[in-house]
Amino acid sequence: MSIQAHNITKTFGKFTALDNVSLHVPSGRLVSLLGPSGSGKTTLLRILAGLEFADPSSNSQILFHDQDVTATSAGKRGVGFVFQHYALFKHMTIEANIAFGLRSLARAGRPDDATINRRVNELLGLVQLDGLQKRYPSELSGGQRQRIALARALAVQPKVLLLDEPFGALDAKVRKDLRRWLRTFQEEIKITTVFVTHDQEEALELADEVVVMNNARVEQVGSPQQVYDDPASPFVIEFLGNVNRFSAITAGAVDSGSAADVIYVRPHDVDIQPASSKEHQYAIEARVQHVFSAGNYGRVALERILNREPFEAEISRARLRELDLKPGDLVSVVFRHVRLFPKGVYTESDVEGEQLVATATAAQ
């Protein structure tokens, strides 16, 4: 079941939550809506679910598998919705929670009690929480509650699964476990899934496709690798992962012909060499501020000699040991990849990129 949304605009009073947004989710895919709070991602999800409705306009439309559901109510769209804070019915047992959707069906289509019971047991097995039928939501941990919420949403056999920050209320360890579990779970049952998150790590790890949103608009759509390696805008590169910013002036005035204002370098694209080494003619001089050696790789906080601009490098721990850096050391730094907006990606071998680094160096 594919989802298509065309030209969705939503305003709350004077605030624009969504500004002419379109979205396409292919059948069976796991798509993440990623963005900072206030970017409109949750509003978009709620509009897909029918919990909110887009501002009326002639060309706004929501299609589920080519069927127009723009004006269909939430209960008739066949969506499963999972809330950040679970929204389980507190006064009902787990069993009654999961069966709620089935018991809400019109009498003609409602299964008998035995069938409902069997279905509840199947779903509990599916989310690996057998035996909790008679418990109440308050007796369960956060991770268990969210899985029950998922089972409840799946009970009515929805065509589409929508999750609003499903791991947002859980602690770090549970969050990680549960998202791996969701990934395999979704691959197994192959239900078209859209989930909202502000956590870029979560989006990149979980989704087939990431929709990066900012300020009521879609900034970029692509696979996790595409949006990380080939960000479409300064917002995307700054939002996904760490990045160093150098203003164009400090980088040595990519002169009048260039439109770029800012140069971006990922910390893992920064290479540190001893100051004495003259092997690279375009190296930049910097001073070591701090060395963080705990973790999978070493992080080095640096300050550029030219204009005291701070930046960061990530290097392997082996390399860090080899260099034996201490605060105050002078080093020479080379950028492996440089990104300019709106001009594109530059590598060392690009002529322009070399010029950039060269002019930057010359300006020192």
Binding site: A49, G50, L51, S73, A74, G75, K76, V79, G80, F81, F83, H85, A87, L88, F89, K90, H91, F100, G101, S104, L105, Y136, S138, E139, A149, R152, A153, A155, V156
Partner: protein
């Protein structure tokens, strides 16, 4: 390790338990004042009611309840409560629902106006209804005279005044609870295909049931005990439009102390039952949210 533990255990206990504690006799003085006030203004009157009503024997006490006027007063009070409490329960749920689940123009005005019965003197509340429904100079005088419906000095007037006075009780209990609960559970029910009625009956109502019971109990206590507004609209006709509080006053004015206190003891017992009920509900609600 063990030595540290034993050292801690053997260290002298701290002299003060809390940073905000006062000197012992300052504490005793404050507690003493509080207890003295409670005895003088709460326990004494309470005991006095039962003492005065029973001091000339149980027979005289019980004879009060064979007086036809007293029976009429008790009946009227029960009828008024039976009309007012269900109406205000429905109204309270509707208003609390509207205020917490929808956003609309004038919402904060509605929430403010809801408190009007608390702010206005009951006597004025009664006068408002006389102004509107009086058969001589009220706004609806022509209609009332034509149809022969009596509002003032009759049951409808008493019910209206009581309705006005007890309007906020249920809504005021429900609004904070519904606000704290948010709308997610209702939205969840909606996406699961439940209709509005099922969502209300199965999801919203069970979540607010203790608050609702509490609101109903308070509403009932006030409906039975209201004096000022009812005194103005009822005309206090013995045996016809005299509710229990009004009849107690009449008896007292006629120096019939024992029957006055005997009826008062029933209203007092109602108050005590209300308090016990309230505590029971709070206990159940706390237990429900803890489990």
């Amino acid at each position: 390790m063990a030595s540290i533990v034993s050292r801690i255990r053997h260290s002298p206990p701290p002299k003060t338990q809390s940073a905000i504690t006062e000197s012992p006799w300052c504490r005793r003085l404050l507690i003493g004042i509080a207890v003295a006030f409670l005895i003088m203004f709460l326990f004494f009157p309470l005991i006095a009611v039962f003492y005065e009503s029973l001091k000339q024997g149980i027979a005289l006490y019980l004879s009060t309840f064979t007086d036809p006027d007293a029976i009429a007063a008790i009946q009227l009070t029960l009828i008024v409560a039976a009309i007012v409490v269900p109406l205000n329960t429905i109204f309270g749920i509707a208003v609390a629902w509207a205020i917490t689940k929808f956003s609309f123009r004038g919402k904060s005005l509605l929430a403010t106006v809801l408190d009007l019965p608390f702010a206005v003197s009951p006597v004025i509340a009664g006068l408002i209804f006389i102004l509107v429904f009086s058969t001589t100079h009220g706004w609806f005088a022509p209609v009332l005279n034509e149809t022969g419906i009596k509002v003032i000095f009759a049951l409808p007037g008493i019910a209206l005044a009581t309705l006005f006075i007890t309007l906020p009780f249920v809504a005021r209990e429900l609004i904070p609870i519904m606000q704290a609960q948010g709308k997610d559970e209702e939205y969840a029910a909606l996406t699961l295909g439940a209709g509005g009625f099922r969502t209300f009956w199965r999801v919203t109502l069970p979540n607010v049931k203790w608050g609702l019971f509490y609101g109903i109990i308070l509403c009932n206590a006030r409906a039975m005990g209201e004096f000022g507004a009812v005194a103005v609209v009822s005309g206090n006709i013995k045996g016809l439009t005299s509710t229990m509080p009004l009849y107690i006053e009449t008896l007292y004015m006629e120096y019939k102390t024992v029957p006055a206190f005997a009826l008062a003891s029933i209203l007092t017992a109602l108050a005590l039952v209300t308090l016990i009920g309230k505590n029971f509900i709070e206990w159940r609600a706390a237990r429900d949210s803890a489990s």
